[in-house]
């Protein structure tokens, strides 16, 4: 059992999606995350174990390597592809509750801003860490965050902005969220955002990269959706 999970973990780390995929060259004609997850399910390994000790463990290493500049965004996204291909086989177990997510993250780019990709990369890495992600898209007004929070009252909120002008809109969104529910945690990010700004507007955290968001979420007390 450990063997197949270690292999699965390696496939995620190296971005090996399935048998057909030519990348990485030294794993050509080997099973990828797709086949290995399917096999692990067929072997009767608990879905939660496959997720945690195979896919999530792999993505954790990927996040750390990215932070240490050992790999770059394309590598990270290739690993995410591998992870998603494995996740497909685990979907039924989410519905039957055999897999519990760690919690829900509501994420969006704030009002006035249309930048999407950086936020989507963060969302992908958070999914890869075992969280359910509700992505509200771009140009998201405060009301929409509040509405989503009503649907997922225990969720953590992530806000993104790429311009200093739109970054200012974070302040109002954070204030409204905290007014509705003072215990809701908010993390913010995007190129112009700083730790000082996060402190000033009453957000709980700032991270320059996806890994910091994952670490922040994982350090929170266990929660339900």
């Amino acid at each position: 059992m450990d063997d197949i999970l270690s292999l699965l973990c390696t496939c995620v780390e190296r971005g090996k999606v399935n048998r057909k995929s030519p990348h990485p060259a030294d794993l050509r004609d080997h099973d990828g995350a797709d086949e290995l997850t399917k096999k692990a399910v067929e072997m009767g390994i608990a879905p939660q174990t496959i997720l945690q000790d195979g896919l999530i463990r792999g993505m954790h290493t990927v996040g750390e390597r990215f932070r240490n500049k050992q790999i770059f965004v394309p590598d990270m996204l290739m690993s995410a592809r591998a992870m998603v291909s494995g996740m497909e086989h685990l979907k039924p177990f989410y519905i039957s509750n055999a897999i519990q997510t760690k919690g829900t993250m509501i994420i969006g780019t704030v009002k006035g801003d249309l930048h999407d990709i950086g936020k989507k990369i963060v969302a992908m890495m958070i999914t890869g860490a075992g969280w359910n992600v509700v992505d509200l898209g771009t140009d998201v007004p405060t009301d929409k965050f509040i509405q989503a929070l009503k649907e997922h009252p225990n969720a953590v909120v992530g806000l993104s902005a790429l311009l200093t002008t739109t970054m200012l809109n974070m302040e109002q969104t954070v204030a409204e969220i905290k007014k509705m529910s003072s215990t809701t945690k908010v993390i913010i990010g995007g190129a112009p955002v700083t730790k000082e700004f996060a402190l000033k507007i009453g957000a709980d955290a700032y991270s320059p990269d996806p890994q910091g968001a994952v670490e922040f979420l994982n350090a929170l007390p266990a929660r339900t959706n």
Partner: protein
């Protein structure tokens, strides 16, 4: 050339070929400064850049102001009835000039839409690479624009400074609203939202100082205080012309 509110307006729509795209530099900007670029990146970049001629519509518009309307002090620049708070770092560099040219460059929205399409259909990897290619191309368009400006000013005995953009070195991004007032509406098809976001996204605006004593410097990464910039982290790109 046309005249708009007393300013000389020049427009151009250059052609860009795949060979104009500096792939090595692009890989460095992706982070791969050591040369070990994964095959899947190389394959996709090679395919994507073949679409540059059909999917990218590079354009720029330049607005050259008369010398008599431009006045500098230590941290601002007044152009006619508009005062720009260019702040000390940029103003110091512009002050070597006797007038300025404002510019807007864009590559249109088609490439951006392609990237969005890939991203929305779940292929974040392709979406990301396309997005960065588009960013790189618009920078290249701005470089070409500077060369056209050289031609325009060559007969006048002028030189030029580097280009500087609102949103950099403490010059507020919202001052783009003032900058756009020096152009006829929607230069290069670019519009500006209330939050000073240019649409299409892959667009650049800025200013260049012109005059007999204008000084151009090598690109200075150290000017910028963006702590977590991935360009800064990559020493290989420090001398490249990123904005």
């Amino acid at each position: 050339m046309e005249i708009f509110s007393g300013n000389e307006i020049y427009r151009s729509s250059p052609e860009i070929k795949p060979v104009d795209f500096n792939i090595e530099m692009f890989y460095q900007h992706l982070g791969y400064s050591t040369g070990a670029v994964p095959g899947f990146v190389v394959d996709f970049v090679q395919t994507a850049i073949q679409h540059i001629p059909t999917m990218i519509a590079p354009q720029w518009t330049i607005s050259i102001l008369q010398e008599s309307v431009v006045v500098f002090d230590k941290k601002s620049m007044t152009c006619g009835n508009q005062q720009f708070h260019t702040e000390p770092i940029i103003t110091k560099r512009l002050r070597t000039a006797s007038t300025v040219a404002f510019f807007v460059c864009s590559i249109g929205k088609q490439f951006e839409e392609w990237s969005k399409h890939e991203t929305d259909s779940g292929d974040l990897l392709k979406g990301y690479i396309l997005d960065l290619i588009a960013s790189e191309v618009v920078e290249g368009v701005a470089d070409q624009m500077e060369l056209q400006l050289d031609e325009i000013i060559s007969g006048r005995g002028w030189k030029r400074t580097n280009r500087y953009s609102p949103g950099y070195c403490d010059w507020s991004v919202s001052e783009q609203h003032k900058l756009f007032s020096f152009f006829p509406p929607h230069p290069c098809g670019v519009s500006l939202t209330d939050s000073a976001l240019m649409l299409p996204i892959k667009s650049i605006s800025g200013v260049i100082g012109l005059g007999p004593n204008a000084i151009r410097k090598d690109y200075e990464c150290s000017l910028c205080n963006l702590e977590h910039c991935f360009m800064r982290r990559n020493p290989a790109s420090q001398n490249s012309a990123i904005l």
